[in-house]
Symmetry: C2
Subunit: 280 residues, 2 copies
């Protein structure tokens, strides 16, 4: 039965585990297969053509495990590749994180002034701009690349005064408008990279109470649930779902870093090394 199949989730590396975490909490009975393309991480500074190719290879690798749905748990890959993937694999539902993030930000914003922080790739692609303006044509969207946050998140620099100083320096273009009465400043900020939720506390401390932070992981998980129900693909609620991990490089490093992004222990789970670079 199709509903017994797993949901396939992929990301450039470990960051997408924040999305897997939300899906796991929302849908504890679903079998989940996660693929981290750690051999080529990060995607955020790579070109559109490369990210599209990597995303297609990840999707094909997951399809070999007979999944019933694909979740792109990476903003850069969602921004660059979701349309290509949906066209290339029309028979399987494919969910990205951009549209759920856009919906959540439009719900959260009172003023329609919405900021997005993301990798260079996601900012250049303007996927959030388009998705938000489609929902609210009056919205004013501004996007800021914060590629350095990926390294902070990966290196375990999540909080403390030095981290806040770095975050403050990166977010200066935003805080400058918050303090300037000439600007109508934003009231909502989308964490447009799956690595960024681990820096939420530091970002909140820098921006203060007037800005609501939106993390698309939860909204994506809700979107996945709705789609499973609509297509009668839900596995039911009887037994706990399984967790299985694949990486394209360094399973040991993946295990070590995973804890920052995924709240459940993965000690009992397999983390298998696969090669996807030769997939055509």
């Amino acid at each position: 039965m199709a509903s017994q199949k797993a949901i396939g989730v992929f990301d450039s590396g470990v960051g997408g585990l924040t999305v897997l975490n939300a899906i796991r909490k929302q849908l504890p009975c679903e079998n989940l297969v996660y693929l981290g393309d750690t051999a080529r991480v990060p995607y955020g500074t790579k070109s559109a053509v490369s990210v599209q190719r990597y995303a297609a290879q990840a999707t094909k690798a997951l399809l070999k495990h007979d999944v019933k749905m694909i979740v792109i748990a990476c903003n850069t890959a969602s921004a660059y590749a979701i349309e290509h993937l949906q066209a290339q694999f029309p028979d399987i539902p494919i969910v990205g994180v951009i549209e759920p993030g856009a919906i959540a930000s439009c719900k959260a914003s009172q003023t329609g002034r919405i900021g997005v922080i993301a990798t260079e790739g996601t900012v250049n692609n303007q996927a959030y701009h388009r998705a938000i303006l489609e929902l609210n044509p009056e919205a004013m969207v501004s996007a800021l690349p914060c590629s350095l946050f990926v390294a902070l998140a990966e290196e375990g620099w999540h909080e403390g005064s030095l981290v806040e100083s770095i975050v403050a320096e990166c977010l200066k273009p935003i805080t400058a408008t918050l303090e300037n009465p000439l600007y109508e400043s934003l009231d909502t900020l989308v964490l447009g990279c799956t690595h960024f939720p681990v820096l939420k506390g530091a970002i909140k401390n820098v921006l203060g109470q007037s800005v609501t932070l939106v993390d698309s992981a939860l909204t994506t998980a809700q979107w996945v649930e709705r789609l499973l129900n609509e297509r009668a693909l839900s596995r039911g609620h009887e037994e706990a779902g399984s967790l299985r991990f694949f990486v394209t490089d360094g399973p040991d490093r993946f295990r070590r870093v995973a804890g920052s992004f995924f709240s459940e222990s993965i000690d009992g789970c397999s983390v298998e090394l696969i090669d996807i670079q030769h997939i055509d």
Copy 2:
């Protein structure tokens, strides 16, 4: 004539341009071909097996351009792959950056207490330990992973008080011993990643005058010159050498970031996109 051929230099991305820069200054008449594997950058957090494969693919790609020598302008690739490459391609001289860096550090150190800062991969591999101990069996070598420095260098965060605070935090295990009279502290620190020389000023300010910083780029360039002379491969001194660049992703980004690492303008040079992931 073999001597008219170019020298092939490769790195995971832009960092190796600090080595290319030194070679260009030392040997201005040599034709140089540089390959940056920007589609899979960085190498520093990837596994030995992957880095060995990527380095072999980069070498094969350079050999297609009929080069007379290969320079591995990347510490991680030198640490993991130089022996494999020398065994696989016995007919061409292959130079890494570790051995020249080790020689320079042994020359610079009075006390034999030498520190190495590098990526996770280079530290784990202990290539500097082995190379330094071979030159000076009495040396005391300590290595510290500073992967965050790669992101700082790439993002253009090279100086200023915030950069120095970050550098100070990363180098705490070293500064703690400098300040502690119980330790015989190091007098020499090897910048064991080609990205790090752009942070030299900040590192110097944090460590003070008692520690000599060693950047292997210059020593590597001298090593290349000696080898060319020994093997009668030097091109001579009559006309300026050419510069040619290949990248595996994002030539525009490469042009934009190159200025931080290479002192000559590359505006007039070609930066060509090639695919090396399918090379067996």
